[in-house]
C-alpha cells in the first residue's frame, strides 16, 4: 500500500513537471527550431523573401565564395571578434583582480562595473555614437572615427569591450573566489608573491573561468549586430558590415533572402565549430582540480 501511495504522488509530480516543460518546448520549436529548418530549406532557393521562388540547389553556397561583400564582412567580423575577445578578457581579468582584493568600497565598485550589463546594446550603441561623433572630435579636434572607413571598426571594438567586460568580470571574480585562501598562504611562504603568484597559482587555478569567458565572449562578438545598427549601419563604405548585419540587411530588405539564408547556415556551422575547437583547446589546458 505504501509503495502504491508513493507512486501516485510520483505520478502527480511528473504531471507538474510536464506541465512546466511542454509549453516552453512548443514555443522553442515554433520560434527557433522551425525557422532554423525553414531557413536551411530556403538556402537552396532564390527566394527574395516574397513571391515565387525556384530551387537552385547549391548555387547560393557556390556564389558565396566569390562574393567580395560577404568576404569583407567575414574579415571585418573576425577582426573585431578576435581583438575584442582578447581585450575584453585581459581588461576583465585585471578588473576582477582589483575587485577581488581587500579594498574599500569593493561592493560599490562591483555594482558600478556591472552597469553596462543591464543596459540595452542599442542604447549603449546610440550613446557611444553620440560620444564618437560629437564629444571625441571636440576634444581631439579631428573628425569622427565613425566616418573613417579605416578606423570605424575601432569604435565598434571599444563599445563591444566596454559592454562585455561587465559579465566577463563577474565570471572572473567568481573564479578568483574559488581559489582557496590557504593556497595563497602556502604560496607566500614558498615565495610565490606578486607576479609569480599570478603566474603559478592564480592563473592556472582560474583556467575554467578563462575557458568559459573566451568561448562566450568570442561567440557574442562574432554575432555583433545591435552596435552596428546603432553606430554605423555597416558604413562608411560597408567597412563595418558584420555577418549578422549583412544577413539581416540584405536578406530582409535587399531581396537576397535565399542567398543570405545560405550565408546564415555557413555562419551557424562556423560558430559551432569555433566554439567546439576553443573548448577542446582550453579544456586541455584546464587543470584537473
Amino acid at each position: 500500500m505504501a509503495s502504491l501511495a508513493k507512486s501516485k504522488v510520483g505520478a502527480g509530480r511528473d504531471k507538474t513537471f510536464y506541465a512546466i516543460l511542454i509549453p516552453i518546448l512548443i514555443l522553442f520549436v515554433a520560434f527557433n527550431t522551425f525557422p532554423l529548418i525553414t531557413g536551411f530549406l530556403y538556402s537552396f532557393t532564390d527566394s527574395k523573401g516574397y513571391g515565387d521562388f525556384n530551387i537552385v540547389g547549391l548555387q547560393n553556397y557556390i556564389d558565396m565564395f566569390s562574393d567580395v561583400r560577404i568576404g569583407n564582412s567575414y574579415l571585418f567580423t573576425f577582426k573585431v571578434a578576435v581583438v575584442a575577445t582578447i581585450l575584453t578578457n585581459v581588461i576583465s581579468l585585471m578588473l576582477a583582480l582589483g575587485l577581488n582584493s581587500k579594498i574599500k568600497f569593493k561592493s560599490a565598485f562591483r555594482a558600478l562595473y556591472f552597469v553596462p550589463q543591464i543596459l540595452g546594446a542599442l542604447v549603449v550603441g546610440y550613446v557611444f555614437s553620440y560620444f564618437f561623433t560629437y564629444i571625441v572630435p571636440a576634444i581631439t579636434g579631428t573628425g569622427s572615427i565613425l566616418a573613417s572607413p579605416e578606423w570605424a571598426w575601432v569604435a565598434i571594438v571599444v563599445v563591444l569591450v566596454w559592454q562585455s567586460c561587465a559579465q566577463t568580470t563577474i565570471i572572473y571574480i567568481t573564479g578568483l573566489q574559488s581559489v582557496p585562501e590557504d593556497v595563497y598562504e602556502a604560496g607566500s611562504l614558498d615565495g610565490a608573491t606578486g607576479w609569480n603568484q599570478f603566474r603559478y597559482l592564480t592563473f592556472p587555478l582560474i583556467m575554467p573561468s578563462v575557458t568559459t569567458n573566451m568561448v562566450l565572449v568570442m561567440k557574442n562578438m562574432l554575432m555583433v549586430f545591435d552596435q552596428i545598427v546603432a553606430m554605423t549601419s555597416g558604413g562608411p563604405a560597408q567597412s563595418t558590415e558584420s555577418i549578422s548585419y549583412l544577413i539581416y540587411n540584405n536578406g530582409l530588405s535587399g531581396g537576397q533572402f535565399g542567398y543570405q539564408c545560405a550565408n546564415a547556415v555557413i555562419f551557424f556551422i562556423l560558430i559551432a565549430v569555433i566554439s567546439i575547437l576553443q573548448t577542446r583547446f582550453l579544456n586541455s589546458r584546464e587543470e584537473q582540480l
Binding site: V183, S188, L189, T193, P204, L289
Partner: protein, 371 residues
C-alpha cells in the same frame, strides 16, 4: 636550524579583540614545541604570526637573533604544514614539492635530488606523478610534509596537521612526525587541540587559554604539576576529578572535608596549606582517575587516604581496563579500574585516593597551592 624568541608578542584586531596577549617564549634549537589549548585560544594565531601570515601588533619576534616582525613570510626561512594541507591542486606531487625550490631558482638537479630524498623519507616515490585530488588524506598530509622538508628551513610550523585524518592514521602519522623530528633535528612548532598529540610529541608544551599563556613545561611536569585548574583539567584524559572541600585540622593533621567525607592529607601537603593560611577555607582538590583506587584493586604500595562511599553511575569497558564514573557525597568521581574488576553500574563501592597525588588549588585564583 634555529632558535626563536617571542618577546611580549600580542595580537589586537581592529575591532579591539585581543587574540594573543603578552606572549613570551624562548625556543631552543631542535626543540619540538607544542601549542595546545581549546579552539579559539590564540594558538593558531601565534603560529601564523611566526609565519608572517598575520601581522604582529605588539612585541618582537626574533629568529636566530634577527628581528623578523616586518620580514615577508618567504624571507623568514620557515616552512608550514597547514591543517587542510594547502597543496597546489593543479600541480603533481613532484611539482608541489619542487615549487618552493623552483621559485628560489635552485638548479633542476638540486631540486630533483631534494624531492626524491623527501619522497623516499615519506614513502611518496610511487605517487610523484599524481595530482593531489587523486590522493588519500594521509597521502596529502605526507606531501604537505614533503613540501616543507624539501625547503630545509630553519623552522617547521605545523598547524593541526593531523586533525583531518581518521583516528588510526593519526596515531600512525604521529609516530612518523616524531621520527621525522629525530631524523631532521629540526626546530618544530606544532599547534594542536589534542592533548594526546601534545603529550606524545612535544619536548615542551605551551598551554594557552583565551590568548594567555598558562604554562610552559615538559609533558611530564605539565601532567604532574599543573600550575592551575585549567591546565590540570585540560591535560590528561579522562580529565582530573575536581571536588570542592573545606580544609580542616584534626590531631595535628590537615584534612579535606566534602559532604560527609573527610580525608587526611600527607604532612608534606598539609603543612603547605597550613603555612599559607588555608585552614578553615574552601579549596578545590584534584585527583586523576588513575590515582583513585577502588576497593577491589591492588593498592600497589600507594599511600591511600581514608575510603569513602561511592555509587557507580556509568561503567565503560575500554579493553584492558575500564572506567567507572560515580557519585560521592559532595561531588563526582571517576576512576580507572582493571577490566577484571566485577564492579558495574549501580554498585555501591568504596574508593580511596593516592594521598601523594592529590593536587590542591585555590578556589578563587584557581592557582595550584600544592601538588
Amino acid at each position: 636550524m634555529a632558535t626563536l624568541s617571542l618577546e611580549h608578542i600580542g595580537k589586537k584586531y581592529p575591532n579591539g579583540f585581543e587574540g594573543v596577549k603578552d606572549f613570551n617564549l624562548e625556543i631552543a634549537d631542535k626543540e619540538f614545541i607544542i601549542f595546545v589549548g581549546p579552539s579559539g585560544c590564540g594558538k593558531s594565531t601565534t603560529l601564523r604570526m611566526i609565519a608572517g601570515l598575520e601581522t604582529i601588533t605588539s612585541g618582537t619576534l626574533k629568529i636566530d637573533g634577527r628581528v623578523v616582525n616586518d620580514v615577508e613570510p618567504k624571507d623568514r626561512d620557515i616552512a608550514m604544514v597547514f591543517q587542510n594541507y594547502a597543496l597546489y591542486p593543479h600541480m603533481t606531487v613532484y611539482d608541489n614539492m619542487a615549487f618552493p625550490m623552483k621559485l628560489r631558482k635552485a638548479s633542476p638537479e638540486d631540486i630533483d635530488k631534494a624531492v626524491h630524498e623527501a619522497a623516499r623519507i615519506l614513502d611518496l616515490e610511487k605517487l610523484l606523478d599524481r595530482k593531489p585530488s587523486a590522493l588519500s588524506g594521509g597521502q596529502r598530509q605526507r606531501v604537505a610534509m614533503g613540501r616543507a622538508i624539501v625547503r630545509n628551513p630553519k623552522v617547521y610550523l605545523m598547524d593541526e596537521p593531523l586533525s583531518n585524518l581518521d583516528a588510526k592514521l593519526r596515531v600512525q602519522m604521529r609516530a612518523e612526525i616524531s621520527k621525522l623530528h629525530d631524523r631532521l633535528g629540526a626546530t618544530i612548532i606544532y599547534v594542536t587541540h589534542d592533548q594526546t598529540e601534545a603529550m606524545t610529541l612535544g619536548t615542551r608544551i605551551v598551554v594557552i587559554k583565551d590568548g594567555v599563556m598558562q604554562q610552559v613545561d615538559t609533558p611530564n611536569k605539565l601532567y604532574s604539576e599543573p600550575v592551575n585548574l585549567f591546565v590540570a583539567g585540560f591535560i590528561g584524559s579522562p580529565q582530573m576529578n575536581f571536588i570542592d572541600a573545606k580544609v580542616g585540622e584534626a590531631a595535628g593533621k590537615v584534612t579535606l572535608t566534602f559532604g560527609h567525607n573527610t580525608i587526611t592529607l600527607p604532612d608534606s601537603k598539609g603543612s603547605v596549606l597550613k603555612k599559607k593560611g588555608y585552614v578553615g577555607k574552601v579549596v578545590t582538590f584534584g585527583i586523576r582517575p588513575e590515582d583513585v583506587v577502588e576497593q577491589h584493586e591492588h593498592d600497589k604500595g600507594r599511600t591511600l587516604s581514608e575510603a569513602i562511599d561511592a555509587t557507580v553511575t556509568v561503567y565503560e569497558l575500554l579493553g584492558s581496563e575500564a572506567m567507572i564514573y560515580g557519585e560521592v557525597d559532595g561531588g563526582q568521581i571517576s576512576a580507572h579500574i582493571e577490566a577484571t574488576n566485577p564492579v558495574r553500574t549501580g554498585d555501591k563501592i568504596k574508593v580511596a585516593f593516592d594521598a601523594d597525588k592529590i593536587h590542591v588549588f585555590d578556589k578563587d585564583t584557581e592557582l595550584a597551592i600544592v601538588h
